[in-house]
């Protein structure tokens, strides 16, 4: 460095010989455009949110020698998922001609009912029976309500003819 400086100062008027000074600034506009284009592209194509999952465990197939415990009518609480996003529930077992009630998936619908019911009977077992015309969203919603209300014991059960009759005769 020192040498160059010396040479420089000794050179006097050498500026004429030099090539014309080029501007060191490059036009960056196209590059930036491209960068933003890529940025937008990746932002839009990335799926950030990994899908969430809800774990369910179905009961193991009962073996013939296993003893099955009968559910007490006083513990049973049945939720019926009907067509057109309708939701019904009754307390007790279907054989005892229970009173069917209409409810809904909203926060003050079945959720309140479940919370109240559990306050009365903590040993409640919820039986979820989906009619064939119900949709999958209803099923997920009701399973979700179980998690929200902290209901530990619940089961997905096949709907029976009696349950279907109960819905049609109630006219709800």
């Amino acid at each position: 460095m020192a040498e160059i400086q010396q040479k420089d100062s000794g050179g006097g008027k050498g500026g004429k010989k030099r090539a014309k000074k080029m501007s060191t600034k490059i036009d960056m506009t196209p590059m930036v455009d491209l960068a933003f284009l890529l940025l937008t592209f990746f932002m839009l194509t990335t799926t950030f949110a990994k899908p969430k999952v809800m774990q369910i465990s179905m009961p193991v197939k009962p073996k013939p020698e296993d003893e099955q415990q009968e559910l007490k009518a006083s513990d049973a609480f049945t939720v019926l998922l009907g067509e057109n996003n309708k939701l019904y529930y009754y307390e007790g077992l279907v054989s005892e001609k229970p009173q069917l009630q209409l409810s809904s998936y909203s926060a003050d619908g079945i959720r309140q009912v479940l919370v109240n019911r559990r306050a009365r009977r903590p040993s409640t077992v919820v039986l979820i029976k989906a009619a064939d015309k119900a949709n999958y969203k209803n099923m997920v919603d009701i399973l979700d309500e179980m998690t929200i209300t902290g209901q530990q014991k619940y089961a997905l059960v096949d709907i029976t003819k009696d349950d279907e009759n109960l819905i049609t005769t109630s006219g709800l």
């Binding site: 960056m28 590059m31 930036v32 960068a35 933003f36 890529l38 940025l39 990746f42 932002m43 194509t45 990335t46 799926t47 949110a49 990994k50 899908p51 969430k52 999952v53 809800m54 774990q55 369910i56 465990s57 179905m58 009961p59 193991v60 197939k61 998922l81 926060a107 959720r111 919370v115 306050a119 989906a130 009619a131 064939d132 015309k133 119900a134 949709n135 999958y136 969203k137 209803n138 099923m139 997920v140 919603d141 399973l143 979700d144 998690t147 929200i148 209300t149 902290g150 997905l156 096949d158």
Partner: protein, 190 residues
């Protein structure tokens, strides 16, 4: 600013897992569950609103092995190229007999082809074959039993979902996941 833009570009490029071009688009219902789908070793059974059932695995070797097993069962043999092509499919809903024809279609025709769904009825229960074949393939490739996820459309009907669950239960697979979207957790008040 430009530095930042490039930083972001790099970031998105590295983290991006491009949305896969699946054969069927389903709109999953939402739940409050915060559990994420595992990264590896997932067998997904997709049920769309037209009662069609699709199957997929996130690992190519697993798909390849499963294809060999199921193909042998239904008297179908595949060339290496066909197998490779099949393992690149994100998901499929075809009868075993249709696969050969399907993988040999050009890409754009394959996209236009309306897949009928995997047969699930008791006489021709190919879904169970696929699940069991993919399960054992998963165990031999990744050394773990796969997670089984059911990805249903919100409007899918209950009988189909129940049928799929029943098929899994018959094979003694009693724990599985339901794929959902995230929803904010409401408070259950008294």
């Amino acid at each position: 600013m430009v530095d930042l833009a490039f930083l972001l570009v790099t970031f998105f490029m590295l983290t991006a897992t491009p949305t896969e071009d699946t054969a069927v688009v389903v709109d999953t219902p939402s739940s409050i569950s915060e559990k994420s789908l595992p990264d590896k070793g997932v067998l997904t059974i997709t049920i769309d609103k037209d009662k069609r059932v699709f199957f997929s695995s996130d690992s190519q070797p697993v798909k390849l092995k499963a294809l060999e097993t199921v193909g042998a069962k239904y008297g179908q043999s595949f060339s290496d190229k066909e197998k490779k092509q099949f393992s690149l499919l994100p998901d499929f809903g075809l009868e075993a007999q249709q696969i050969k024809g399907f993988v040999n279609l050009p890409a754009e025709q394959r996209k236009a082809f309306k897949q009928p769904g995997i047969p699930t009825d008791s006489l021709n229960n190919q879904l169970a074959e696929w699940v069991m074949a993919a399960r054992s393939a998963n165990i031999s490739v990744l050394n773990t039993a796969p997670y089984i996820a059911i990805k249903g459309d919100g409007l899918a009907d209950v009988p189909t979902v129940k049928k799929v669950i029943k098929i899994l239960q018959e094979k003694n697979l009693n724990r599985f996941y339901l794929v959902t979207d995230l929803e904010t957790k409401p408070v259950a008040s008294n």
